[in-house]
Symmetry: D2
Subunit: 353 residues, 4 copies
């Protein structure tokens, strides 16, 4: 059994990592750190895990982790991970970081998007930004992996095959990424914004411009297309806890054919269990909807073409805590450790829920 | 007291018209038609009105309406209104039509958007497409008025001032209108799509391309700007009953200044009570959100600028049954009849709700 | 115009008082106190009121209030109101208190239910506990009024007529009051309990035993029945913002007849506009449901009889912020000042919402 | 591998059976019947299963099932199951029936509760009413099993240990069972009652008296206590899809001690993985809440004591589609077939969701 540690295990992503790892047949969870809850039973913070584990939170002690763990998931906040992870990496631990601190390969992006100069640019080259459906082979050989932001991975999975396929003639300057997200992506810290009476029933445009995930998306799209891509992203909070729908509005230089879109998606995703192409003729389930992936590691992708305006609308849906975070990270671990990619994360979505 | 009739009064828009008109100080509701419920008390279909009216539904009888009403609100479905309204119009009744059947001034648009040849193109010229904040004076003199679709009016109110102001350099070919709407806009007819267990928690892209409201929006934007405008619209169902948020992604030829945007909005909306400009520095209420207009005739408008991508994000929110339908129609009636525009519809939104 | 002040106007009850009073035709709101927000515009805290008032919050200054107001609504927390209200009362101001501090006529109840010795028991005799549907005449003559808790008034309106009618043979020792309430009743202060991700979708038994409103309910039931009554109350938080449903399970000594129940209700509520008796044969609206009173001052009441178990189930629904708080208080004010009871609060519920 | 069939597999319980059985390591799903959808892919009706199975629905053909299946789950409606199941039983198939048609051992109860004379009373003796936590040994030896109603099992698990323990002095005539349930329990058939705009935000008392699950509850409680028990049950629809909270209000002849209640629960449930006793001192998770069991087979049980009124409030929460239906049925299958009780159903709840 592989010995696993989870850093910042008291948050929602940490909790989801614990939930999935505790049920994973190939690993033992040996550490769950959370300064604030050190000594507390995990199930008091994550009540779903009551009866399933007697694990207790511990303080984050790098030297102890080095000795007790084979691999570590770091779910620390941006800016904090970069203070902790390097020493674990230097000590040779396998690491899967879920913060933004090792996602961008260009150190020059950190000051503008995250407000700090990256202290360890050498590590930026070593971390693999992992979306197995796109760079599975790279992930297999990696020891240091960075897992994308929840909206970023959802957008990227819909956009990358289209940008890669040059014959589609995508206008790379007017790509609109309009995201609708549940509350769990914002974490577990109470505030007026997240107070139930104020948050219930909203469609709140909380980040209409300047969203940080733009940088990750542009990085991957530039990489697959070989050209600079500009993404215009807006994020909205909607009335649910889990799930993301990303609507990508894409303009093309000429008419596009559904078959060509299908081909682009299939050529990238055939063999990728966790991407489902969804495009039925009718019914309430004919296009992606986060409701239909809740509880699973699936990313559903579909599209519509509007000839009149020369527009292609790509739609993608994930459970933000699974494919958007913990699930993608565990999928990456499976690849790094040589397990079947699906091990421990192949559960079906709940429906209805 | 003005004698008012409501056609198709059993639907959600009909119910909202009744709710507001029954409390309106200048009118008497003398007829509420609904074939299916003829003879039934109104409060059995609209349970909120229990104890507030003993009105009963009647069948739609044009000749009776002509005798008993001064003005009629028609909330009939598209395609049905056009079969009924002409004879009422010919008989000299004042009419406010809430269907799409008299919204488009160009008869040539009906076959492609609505699938029928308009039988009375002469009436298309006589009907005023009413958004009082934009064409108040026209509405004042009108006897035949058409009220916009709920998403259309919400989008138009955010976009019209921007398109009108040429110095902003709006790219008229890449205007993305991404709408998030509550369930009530889809009406009261049960189906698998609207079955609670299937509809709860969705972000369902039910009309990503080809939405009919595109035509109305383009019509008004072309009118205020004097040039052809192409609107790329997508509509999503979200987890609430009332409300619309429209996110309009607009590209500009050069940098724009917040002050110029403010000016554009103020020059059109100063003196318009029902438009609120919302753009605070922080807090959960700093931008428009349908939650904050529920129960009112307000349209909240705000914006953000993303210099990096040359994008302006305009945000607008309404209660789809009020400013998006019944409220705008009654506001139009107030103008047509010489009342204060706000009469009977100046109620504050509910908060929290 | 009557000059009105609202104390603790930044909370949800305070906001609802402001919303309704600003639209009330007979009053001017001259003061809205909120220590924390002194100097801030009211509409920044209550975003629904944007565009409707330029009022600003002020600190609570008793001497200023005495000079500027004719009547004051106090929406202060329990324990705080009793420190502030007495000096206003002593100065001759008319007062409507919405806290629990003047609800119980027996000073002996305060230590056990609220944990303090009442400092002004003389005032307990002077305050009228106001439920106009039950003691309208008393309220008319009052200058000091206490308005019930939201769950208490909802339960009392369903129970009082039954307890008053001795022939029904109610078992006064096994009355179960099972309440389901929205989040707004818990106020506007963020916490882990009210954090959206934790609060969404719950049926949380937050006070299964020992709920303080038991005392108010028992007080009124004892008063109308002339005998001691024991109420077994449990409160649950459910997935909505506004509204209360109280299910009262009542056992009877012998079989009861629907007609007798009707009679009991009608004999108390005929002429009371804000109580609606709801008991249809079929359909989704056949019994009270808070969804159908949202936005109104109505209390809907209905019942079912279960012969097999000798049980009568009484159901009552209110909007907790209106009939459960601000609406009942304004209704009381209307009576105290000689206005029509319905003035400013006769609006219809919103439906659907 | 055991060959399994699911009858009426297109409904929500059928879908949940398929979801769990498709992931069960010891079984093969060889048949999923649904007249209406015969020939259709399962994933078109249960969109969560897209990508997970190529199974198609078939018509219900008893002779085929007999040949191809070792065990059958019947999720047919009440009244329909009794027409189909007997021939399968007679043919020697192992059967787990999820309808009410074989739950009541007393044939005399069927006319009053279900409106029909039971055609095969001989089978009523042979079917084991399965709640493994209560009668595990009986289930182990059974070939014909009946699984309880979702509200029934949730109530029974909280009540049975208390009724069994005579020293607690439970008043068997005034047991109030107040249930709050999500929409999925009502099935997948659209109607006005379940139309999203009408169903969203409700607390609807849809069956305040005469609920059929009363019969099952009384049957088990009489069995464990050896005496007649009368249950006063009311059911309410609340604003969620999955989950049940049952609040049981129980009166005792004298004071009870928390330790005695703990003992009663532990003596029945020690060793039962799927019952979790939940009673913390503070925090939002201190008592059972269906939100905390969604996606799992757990039944959480907790309680509060109200000395003043001599009342014990027992609280129990389940996911109605899992422990309330499919999960309990599969748990029963595991026992019948000699597998570990937890096989395939030990997944953790999702949190937050």
């Amino acid at each position: 059994m592989v010995r696993v540690g989870v850093l910042a295990a008291s948050g929602y992503i940490g909790g989801e990592l614990l939930r999935l790892l505790l049920q994973h047949p190939e690993v033992d969870v040996v550490a769950a750190t959370a300064r604030k809850y050190a000594g507390e039973y995990v199930f008091r913070v994550h009540p779903n895990l009551r009866g399933m584990t007697e694990l207790q939170f511990t303080p984050l002690d790098a030297s102890k982790l080095t000795g007790s763990c084979d691999i570590v998931f770091a779910a620390l906040p941006h800016g904090e991970s970069v203070m902790v992870v390097p020493q674990l990496a230097d000590a040779g631990l396998k690491i899967i970081d879920l913060s933004a601190d090792f996602r961008l390969s260009d150190r020059g992006q950190y000051p503008s998007w995250y407000g700090y100069d990256h202290p360890r640019p050498d590590l930026l080259e070593k971390f693999v930004f992992s979306i197995p459906e796109i760079n599975r082979d790279q992930v297999k050989g990696a020891t240091l992996v960075s897992s994308p932001g929840c909206m970023a991975i959802t957008a990227i999975l819909a956009l990358a095959p289209l940008l890669k396929e040059k014959s589609l003639g995508i206008d790379r300057d007017h790509i609109v990424v309009d995201a609708k997200v549940g509350s769990s992506g914002a974490g577990g810290k109470p505030s007026l914004s997240t107070h139930f009476s104020e948050r219930f029933g909203v469609v709140r445009p909380y980040k209409p411009a300047g969203h940080r995930h733009s940088a990750e998306i542009e990085q991957v799209l530039a990489s697959v297309s070989g050209e600079k891509v500009r993404v215009s992203m807006s994020a909205h909070a909607v009335n649910m806890v889990r799930g993301i729908l990303v609507t990508s509005h894409i303009f093309t230089s000429g008419p596009v054919n559904p078959i060509d879109i299908w081909k682009a998606y299939r050529s990238m995703y055939t063999g990728s269990y966790f991407v489902r192409l969804v495009r039925d003729k009718h019914g309430p389930f004919r296009l992606p909807d986060p409701k239909l992936v809740v509880g699973s590691n699936f990313c559903d992708i579909g599209f519509e073409i509007e000839e009149r305006t020369g527009r292609l609308v790509a739609l993608s849906a994930t459970d933000n805590l699974i494919k958007g975070a913990a699930g993608n990270a565990i999928q990456s671990m499976n690849l790094m450790l040589g397990f079947d990619e699906k091990t421990g994360i192949a559960m079906a979505p709940l429906h209805p829920v």
